[in-house]
């Protein structure tokens, strides 16, 4: 289908074969290239922030000694992961709206004009990345918390006798122990480089922010299912899948080579 001028009433056998035309059009249509650029920017920011925040939060949380507080915080921060993006979008549209809670607080403290987080092209990517982190950082912490809990306490005792401060202990004991896990998670997330999160963007974006917020998946949806360019939409999807596949295979190889990680 990706190589055809597909018409639903003609089917695969009846539609005209047009070779690579659909793929060429990906790079000719301004909207399509813009969608690819947006996808890359959003996905890469999500990956970077999504790696750093859970690590930092896991280290900070493991410094909390009161078990009751620690457990409650854990329970609360895992929760958003299980909410659907539809629910989260519903929350966000309300809270981030012009007269929503966040603007209410901001205008009261800074006295600025209300900020339209979801309608301002300059802010939309930022909003998407931050809300994604909000939703998933807790879940990302789980593996790191388990790793930290598994560190042999005698390392810390030895470091303590040698006069290491807590900061030095984290720098020279905790972080190195987490490193293999960090490497695995980071390499595996490489495969997401073309995946900016359809569920999220589709529920949050609007025509105002197409210029910065339209990603490959939403573009495919609109160009094919809404505008009837089936062959072209499929070509864009195939293009994305192909590149993702290569990236995933490479990243699994890397993870296996440097951290001896096997998926099964």
């Amino acid at each position: 289908m990706a190589f055809q001028d597909y018409k639903p009433w003609l089917g695969i056998t009846g539609s005209r074969w047009i070779g690579l035309d659909n793929f060429e059009r990906i790079f000719q249509y301004k909207e399509a290239t813009q969608a690819i650029v947006n996808t890359l920017i959003i996905a890469v920011s999500k990956i970077i922030v999504g790696i750093i925040v859970p690590i930092v939060m896991a280290i900070l949380l493991s410094e909390i000694r009161n078990m009751g507080i620690k457990k409650s915080v854990q329970t609360l921060v895992y929760l958003p992961h299980f909410l659907s993006w539809v629910t989260v979008a519903g929350l966000m549209i309300d809270i981030l709206g012009l007269d929503g809670g966040i603007n209410h607080i901001l205008t009261r403290i800074f006295g600025n004009d209300p900020i339209y987080f979801l309608g301002d092209p300059d802010l939309f990517r930022f909003t998407v990345v931050i809300s994604d982190v909000w939703k998933s950082f807790g879940f990302g912490m789980i593996v790191y918390l388990a790793t930290i809990a598994g560190i042999n306490p005698s390392y810390y005792e030895a470091a303590e006798i040698d006069g290491a401060t807590r900061r030095q202990q984290i720098r020279y004991v905790t972080l190195p122990s987490m490193l293999p896990m960090i490497i695995v998670i980071s390499t595996l997330s490489l495969g997401n480089i073309l995946d900016a999160g359809f569920d999220q963007v589709f529920n949050l974006y609007n025509p105002l922010v197409y210029s910065t917020g339209d990603i490959i998946d939403t573009y495919v949806y609109r160009s094919s299912l809404l505008n009837g360019q089936y062959g072209f939409g499929t070509a864009v999807g195939l293009f994305k899948s192909g590149i993702s596949l290569i990236l995933i295979v490479v990243s699994y190889r890397l993870a296996y080579k440097y951290a001896n990680y096997k998926i099964f």
Binding site: L76, S84, G90, F198, D217, L225, G237, K240, S244, I248
Partner: protein
Amino acid sequence: MYHKTTGYRVFSYFNYVFMILAGLACFLPLLHLLAQSLSSKAAISGNMVSFWPVGFNVDAYVKTFNNSNFNGAMLTSITRTVLGTTISMFILTCAGYALSKEFRGRNVLMWFFIFTMLFSGGLIPSYILITALGLKDTIWALVLPGAFGAYNLILLVNFFKTIPKALEEAAFIDGASFFVILSKIYLPLSLPGIATVSLFIMVGHWNSWFDGILYMSDASKYPLASFLQTVVVQSNMQNMAMSQSEVAAMSEQSIKAAQIFVSTLPIILVYPFLQRYFVKGIVLGAVKE
């Protein structure tokens, strides 16, 4: 020792405050939603509602549960969740059990399944396939495509692998069949894994909305998440089946909030059970020697 330095104490106080704030930040939006759903219209439009209902009333909930579209969608969601989880778990445990053994061609088979996770044909081909199979507009379109998730398969295989071989051999000598071994030995012993995977599948089914919009041509067949998507995101007030006078009397926001809250409630209710298992499940699935 370090606990006693002033620097660490200061850090510790800030850390406590910061962590509690982070926890609250993940929870307060939901509380805000609940407060809104229970507040009066005047309070909401006056922006007076924060985390406690103002002008308490349950009209929005009455309206929500009297809405036949909402109830129908709820029923569809329950059906797909129960049906989908049952089918998925049956296929996955059988496949996982077989694939946790060593046999010729196992790796080829495994990569064959994993390939489905790495590479997808895309939106249109899936749509055409479902239509051609005659699944469109039936509950099966929501249940079958995701029934055999490779990610869940990997989790299960890794779980089954941790069970000692000797147990199986002993059962064999006692004359147990493969099926008896699977149901009497493997399933009970890997309960955290089974629970994790089935809860993931359940939550996944409950939350997925796009397949409903894609495969159901008629909005009355939407599952709850798709219904909600049209109401909340597309702000499709027609779906709420309200007359003009009702719209004027009730706050749109409060009804939206009630609908979101009711549809999120099952997740919040299973969450405590979920949490007991998934931490273990995730860690076992991800960290291996």
